[in-house]
């Protein structure tokens, strides 16, 4: 978590706002000097982890390069003001490492499985939780890695192992939900409690007021159609580009943009209905 030394005008940033003792609102953007008219405001959350309001904000053009997030936020604080991770060089390097490990694994080097698992399991586990819920996420993750193991010889050398594994996870989750005839929102209340208890990343601020938003977010996300949910999770929560998500979902980039937009709108509407 870091703040950019000098935010560039007109560039996109991911901003997490948390107001101490109060619920974060979209109006916080205005009080922090951001241009709301050009902002895309979206809600993000994750099962069992800090759920706060997240805003993809665009620094107001024509204003000074002073970091505006320090202004007007005396009632709270800004947790993160970070550049989008989509173009993070370190993330790219690690993606390449994962692909190289998968190439070795596909070529018959069984020892490379350790590297593949170490690099991919956290990402895949998070995706599994988002796609199917925490209770079934373990089994889904296991099935996904087993399928990757069986199909490792068909992995295209030089291909994106992240996209390949995400595609396997998504189709496997669809099969599992179809087989059980249920959607992820059918999680029991115990499961939901377990989700909350499982999140070890909650800050005191977030836990004080973030849970209600998290509930709204989880319920609405799970109630979305599979195509909208998958697109939203891959782009907004996994940080994939629309083109990469399009490959995973077999759709065009514009279709992914539309799905993410519709999902964001529905999530925002749900949050508004809940009084956020």
């Amino acid at each position: 978590m870091r703040r950019p030394a000098s935010p560039e005008r007109g560039r996109s940033y991911v901003v997490h706002t948390v107001r101490r003792g109060k619920r974060a609102r979209a109006s916080d953007l205005a009080t922090s000097g951001l241009d709301r008219s050009t902002d895309h405001v979206g809600l993000h959350g994750r099962c069992g982890v800090t759920a706060t309001m997240t805003m993809n904000a665009v620094w107001a053009r024509g204003q000074s390069s002073e970091p505006h997030y320090t202004r007007g936020m005396d009632a709270g604080r800004l947790l993160v003001a970070d550049e989008s991770l989509k173009h993070d060089a370190r993330a790219e390097e690690l993606r390449n490492l994962a692909s190289q490990a998968m190439n070795r694994y596909a070529a018959g080097d069984d020892r490379a499985f350790d590297d593949v698992y170490a690099l991919l399991a956290p990402r895949l586990y998070r995706l599994c939780i988002c796609l199917i819920g925490r209770t079934d996420a373990d089994d889904l993750l296991q099935e996904v890695f087993l399928k990757m193991h069986r199909a490792r010889a068909s992995f295209v050398p030089g291909g994106s192992v992240l996209a390949w594994s995400f595609a396997i996870a998504r189709t496997t989750s669809i099969d599992r939900m179809r087989h059980r005839g249920r959607r992820p929102e059918d999680a029991t209340s115990n499961e939901r409690l377990e989700m909350h208890a499982g999140g070890g990343h909650s800050s005191p601020e977030a836990s004080s007021f973030g849970r209600a938003l998290e509930d709204v977010f989880e319920q609405k996300l799970a109630a979305l159609s599979e195509s909208l949910r998958s697109a939203y999770v891959l782009v907004k929560m996994e940080g994939m580009s629309c083109a990469e998500a399009g490959e995973v979902l077999g759709a065009s980039t514009s279709a992914i943009k539309q799905r993410v937009h519709r999902a964001s709108e529905e999530l925002k509407a749900a949050a508004s209905e809940a009084g956020w």
């Binding site: 370190r90 956290p122 990402r123 193991h149 291909g159 996994e238 759709a251």
Partner: protein
């Protein structure tokens, strides 16, 4: 195998991307996974490389054209007809192009290894039937001078229908084997596209084999199997494509 550490080979996978915190899956997942992997058979043999596939397609096209020339100039090769049969070249070229393009679309893995998008596969499956009317239209327009031979042809083309089904089934089997359990995206439409490619190859084979230019014969014996095989592919082949 050593237990994989969170730090991975060189870096922390928490940095692998995404906007939200990561957590390690429970350790029992890895334990169960290793137990299952120990009982797994060796992996399925790697599919032919893309280069080999790209070389195979023009070679197959050249082979077909060579056969066409041989058939046209040697009546002995048409023992069933007992006479020299000509082939309408524009029809053969159009059918060959349709077969090659649909095969490339259906079997392409792309740079990412995830194949063509659903929309491309869908159009391939849906358009191959209407497009296959084109070579037949060339044939009908040109007509044939095999009057004596055509008297022996079934007016509804039922033998051709049966032959076409057989050829398309074999083609589909070969194409499905090529992609079996390797592409995790859009198994249904990919299977339909494979079916359309199989139907297109069957259509080309019949075009070379059967000289009929009767619309009724062509519609039932030649075109109907091409129309049916995308459906057959989606219905039957997708279960073999699913990862």
């Amino acid at each position: 195998m050593n237990s994989p550490s969170m730090s991975g080979p060189k870096g922390d996978p928490r940095e692998l991307g995404g906007s939200f915190p990561l957590e390690l899956p429970p350790s029992h997942v890895l334990d169960r996974l290793r137990a299952q992997m120990a009982n797994e058979p060796p992996p399925i043999a790697s599919s032919p490389s893309r280069r080999a596939k790209w070389l195979a397609l023009p070679l197959a096209a050249l082979l077909l054209l060579g056969l066409d020339v041989a058939v046209r100039h040697n009546s002995l090769l048409r023992a069933d007809a007992g006479l020299l049969l000509g082939v309408c070249i524009p029809s053969a070229v159009a059918a060959l192009l349709i077969a090659i393009v649909t095969t490339i679309i259906a079997t392409s893995r792309g740079k990412s290894g995830l194949g063509e998008r659903v929309s491309v596969l869908r159009w391939s499956a849906l358009l191959v039937g209407p497009l296959s009317v084109l070579p037949m239209a060339f044939l009908v327009q040109e007509g044939t001078d095999h009057g004596a031979f055509e008297q022996h042809l079934d007016p509804w083309g039922l033998p051709c229908f049966a032959i076409s089904l057989g050829i398309a089934a074999v083609s589909l089997l070969v194409l499905v084997r090529e992609l079996r359990r390797s592409v995790p995206v859009a198994a249904g439409w990919r299977a339909a596209a494979l079916g359309s490619a199989a139907g297109a190859w069957a259509g080309l084979a019949l075009l070379l084999h059967c000289p009929s230019a009767e619309p009724q014969h062509l519609a039932v014996g030649h075109l109907l199997p091409i129309m049916l095989f995308p459906i057959a592919g989606m219905w039957v082949a997708q279960r073999f494509l699913r990862l």
